[in-house]
Amino acid sequence: MTLEGSKTAAPVVLQTGVNLNQDITDKLERMAKIYQLSRETKDAFRVMSYQRIAGVIKKLPYRIKSPEEVQQLAARTRGIGGRMAEHIMEIVKTGNYAKLDQANQDGRNQTLMLFTKVLSVGASLAEKFYRDGCRTLEDISKRPDLSRANRIGLQYFDELQQRIPRSEVAEIEVGYWSETYSP
């Protein structure tokens, strides 16, 4: 029994870059997630552009404060067109993104979003479930055409939604010391 293993565990690394525009990038990424529910090609391109813009803004060393800054950003960045600039401006100006709010409130989107949280359920399968009248996880669980991964995903649904603290990942990799008491 040695502690050798734990020496090789990856150290906790502090993030070098801090995202100064997280409220903005959160909204853009959420919008990308919603477009991911769609199977249309043009929406696949939207997913990419929202993700890319979010990635660019994440790296900015300053906080975007004015619409002028958004305009400057759009002029200097490939892939931000007029409409994307408008979306970002709306978020900067109002702190809100009406298009996202609307999409979030949409019942069909909410249901599809829930379904895609099940292991191995993608946009097309979620849509198939929805078309067949499924509205809850319970509805899905009655289907005879679920894959092994789908069933496991439903069985541990709540647990698998939880993030894993990195300390636990380290335990899974290298093990840990546990104390047993007697008596």
């Binding site: 293993g5 906790v12 191995s120 496991i152 990195r166 990799e173 290298v174 010391w177 047993t180 007697s182």
Partner: protein
């Protein structure tokens, strides 16, 4: 008054998991946990572990034995995809499943914290593919995408299994060479004439990506990216390709 001494015996036991179990089965096995864990994130969505060994022949049957052992310990609870049965080495050999750590006996003695089921992937790669797998499964998706784009612009193709010379007709790939020989991530970046990016800086696309902001503060990064691009253009990327081995090089797209 008599003092009664109650002796409490504390037994400290080592709970061994993936690393030690793998080492017990195959001494000298190399193991790295990738994904957001390797990128230094405070929390992770799942656990993604890569295995290899200097001696490729010894990898045969390793994953099947490892998973069997972890199931015996009630650590692996469910299999989504099981490893190859061990007769031949399929590379990469992949296990996808669910695991749960035993309830931890907290130092307070009373509260055993309940453990949650977690998604666990374990993959075994040939040693010469390991660096490519490491790069691929460390991500992030956005970073990988920017790296593959860079690679493709230079007529090469990058996957979890290698860096190959590719011939394209239109968008279709018609021919592919053997992989370049890179035993570390550093060597892959060097073969692509890119500056090494440490895992914790791979959250977004690489500095060479064309969507970079040409900002005052980012000017240095942009300049070095342009320089790298210029140098690459001048020198044409020419990694040394391996001659032996015959790995299947089909690029898997990231999920």
């Amino acid at each position: 008054m008599k003092q009664v001494l109650y002796a409490v015996f504390v037994c400290i036991a080592r709970q061994a998991f993936v690393r030690e179990v793998a080492l017990a089965i195959l001494p000298g096995v190399e193991l790295i946990t990738c994904g957001s864990y390797r990128r230094g994130r405070p929390t992770c969505g799942d656990v993604d572990i890569l295995l290899t060994h200097q001696n490729a022949e010894k990898l045969e049957g390793l994953l099947a034995r490892l998973v069997r052992e972890l199931e015996k310990q009630k650590f692996v609870t469910d299999c989504i995809s099981t490893p190859s049965n061990g007769d031949i080495l399929v590379s990469p050999d992949t296990f996808m499943g669910v695991c749960v750590l035993p309830a931890s006996v907290a130092s307070s003695m009373s509260t055993a914290a309940p453990r949650l089921h977690r998604r666990l992937d374990i993959r075994v790669y040939q040693p010469e593919q390991f660096a490519f797998a490491l790069l691929y499964f460390t991500g992030s998706d956005l970073f990988n995408r920017s790296m593959r784009l860079w690679t493709r612009k230079h007529g090469l193709t990058l996957s979890d299994q290698g860096l190959c010379n590719a011939t394209h007709v239109g968008r279709e790939r018609v021919a592919k060479s053997k992989s370049a020989r890179c035993l570390t991530e550093h060597e892959i970046f060097a073969a692509l004439k890119l500056e090494y990016v440490p895992p914790e800086q791979r959250e977004t696309s690489g500095a060479w990506a064309s969507d970079l902001i040409k900002d005052d503060l980012a000017a240095d990064a942009a300049a070095s990216a342009r320089e790298a691009a210029g140098a690459a253009e001048a020198a044409r990327l020419s990694p040394t390709f391996m001659e032996d081995t015959e790995p299947s090089m089909d690029a898997a797209d990231p999920s």
